[in-house]
């Protein structure tokens, strides 16, 4: 894969997965 594609894919997936992990981690940590 070319560098530009890797950067945009990593940013897209990374931001969404980070948000997902953060929200579910905070939700289950409380319990």
């Amino acid at each position: 894969m070319n560098t530009e594609a890797i950067i945009f894919m990593a940013l897209s997936w990374g931001s969404i997965v980070t948000l997902l992990i953060f929200s579910y981690y905070r939700m289950f940590r409380k319990k």
Partner: protein
């Protein structure tokens, strides 16, 4: 009389129900096509900006307004908007959009959803992956839709049977109620959906280079094709409009369904983290899973030019023509085609049940009809309203319903609720309301975003979109003369239904006022 309002059984249950409502056919069909056609990786910039400035704020607003309404005994925007605007009739009338909008979408969505059930059946029984070429697959779809009689189907009746099954399934879950129907469906359906989607993503990303004679058609080049940004596209207003539109469609915001779902929360149930969890679940299903099936699979078999053609060919063509053909070219293709359509069916049904809920809440809370009766009455009305969508599919009837229910009403409703939330209730009071029982605190920058940025963003969308699409569509530019009566029929259905809801909500408001006065006198 309707009994006490129901509540969700668990926090995860309501999150999965809202996520189930949001994750629909669009996540797996509409998003990848929009991305491919609007700058590839560069599309993610306006998309993520719209998510941060429109999607998340509107999600929080709708969760909060819904919970506020639930405390006052309402689950629909009509009474909620009226109750926070000192019983403004205008606000009540505008709130009717939040009942009629999703109902219009339901009318055609259920029919399309039933195709996925039928195609799953055809795939698992091996009928689908033997069509051979694109023309054969298109003929199969046209025959199934009843648009032509051919060697595959002599009429629409197979489609009608699958539609009836799908419709009854939807109303079965509605009949079972919030906890026993919708929550149970979401708790079972969403994990299955995730497993099926992950299975398809793994299969797609492990396609490698299917044809060694064409080494450029590899999955690595497919990902290059999707994510290499065309930064010049960011100068095109259409790309920003498409990205904002996709955020609306995908998160089920501006419809009134999240308001209805959130009205079944308890007073101190969190809305901030729950809203964020539901939104992030939907985004994961869209960006990570939805973006990794259709376009990469199309690229390795059809190449860049062929994939662009597919993306331009419309959602029905992508889902029901191209994908079965692609699955026909891989080992165990019938099985994977079945998994694909089953995935779409689950995504569809968890969305369609949510589209009925605002109307159900309206009947139960405002018209004081019992759940059993409301299911029967709404089921009958919806079943009758679906008939023209089924039989007039080829005459632009569904496109017209989609224009009003799936576009105009969404943006209009979102604009109204943003103004009511940030300006009528007032951002300070609204902020306090949002944080009641909240598990996390919202960054204070969102005070400014909710009050100024989100409404301005919405006005910009409304303006640009009115200029580009609204006027030409209203004037029926490019519509064949023979199809115009069907378009008028669709408009009659939309505005007749809206007028009926407005009349009913005004009657209910008067009746409730009299009821309160009588109670007070007693």
């Amino acid at each position: 009389m309707a009994g006490q309002r129901e509540h969700w059984g668990s926090k995860l249950g309501v999150i999965l129900a809202v996520a189930g409502s949001a994750v629909g056919l669009g996540n797996f069909l509409r998003y990848p096509a929009k991305m491919a056609l609007n700058g590839g990786g560069a599309f993610m910039i306006p998309y993520l900006i719209a998510f941060l400035l429109l999607g998340i704020p509107l999600m929080w607003m709708e969760w909060t307004l819904g919970r506020m309404g639930g405390q006052r005994g309402f689950g629909t925007a009509t009474s909620i908007f009226a109750s926070v605007t000192r019983n403004s009739m205008v606000a009540r009338i505008l709130g009717a959009i939040g009942i009629m909008g999703p109902f219009i979408i339901l009318v055609y969505y259920t029919f399309i959803e039933s195709w996925t059930l039928a195609y799953a059946y055809f795939a698992f029984t091996g009928k689908l992956t033997t069509m051979g070429d694109q023309e054969g697959m298109k003929a199969f779809l046209s025959g199934y839709q009843g648009l032509v009689a051919n060697e595959h189907f002599s009429g629409i009746w197979t489609a009608y049977i699958f539609f009836t099954i799908t419709f009854l399934l939807n109303f079965y879950f509605i009949y079972r109620g919030i906890q026993g129907g919708i929550e149970k469906l979401s708790r079972i359906g969403m994990p299955i959906l995730l497993i099926l989607a992950v299975l398809l993503v793994i299969r797609t990303l492990s396609l490698g280079t299917p044809d060694p004679a064409q080494p450029e058609l590899s999955i690595t080049n497919a990902l290059n094709f999707i994510y290499t940004p065309d930064l010049a596209s960011l100068g095109n207003a259409k790309v920003w409009l498409e990205a904002a539109g996709q955020i609306f469609f995908t998160l089920s915001i501006g419809m009134g369904v999240i308001i209805a779902y959130a009205s079944y929360l308890k007073k101190d149930d969190d809305v901030v983290l729950s809203g964020l969890s539901a939104a992030s679940t939907n985004e994961f299903c869209e960006v990570v899973l939805g973006g990794s099936v259709v376009i990469p699979a199309a690229f390795v078999f059809l190449g860049a030019a062929g994939t662009m053609e597919v993306a331009k060919s419309g959602l029905f063509n992508i889902g029901f023509v191209t994908m079965p053909l692609i699955f026909g070219k891989i080992p165990l293709g019938a099985l994977f085609a079945g998994v694909w359509f089953l995935l779409l069916f689950i995504a569809g049904i968890t969305s369609s049940v949510s589209m009925v809920q605002p109307a159900m809440s309206f009947m139960q809370d405002e018209l004081k009809v019992s759940r059993k009766k409301a299911t029967g009455i709404l089921g009958l009305i919806a079943f009758l309203a679906c008939q023209p969508a089924i039989f007039f599919l080829g005459h632009g009837f569904v496109d017209e319903l989609d224009f009003w229910g799936g576009t105009v009403f969404l943006v209009l409703f979102a604009t109204v609720e943003t103004i009511i939330f940030g300006w009528v209730i007032g951002i300070e009071k609204a902020w306090e309301e949002m944080h009641q029982g909240a598990d996390i605190r919202i960054p204070s920058a969102y005070k400014f975003i909710i009050k100024y940025v989100t409404p301005l963003y919405l006005f910009a969308i409304l303006g640009a979109w009115s200029y580009q699409q609204f006027i030409p569509t209203i004037l029926m530019e490019g519509v064949a003369e023979a199809d115009k009566p069907y378009i008028w029929g669709a408009r009659l259905l939309v505005f007749g239904g809206l007028a009926a809801i407005i009349a009913l909500t005004m009657y209910a408001a008067r009746w409730m006022k009299n009821d309160r006065s009588a109670g007070g006198a007693a």
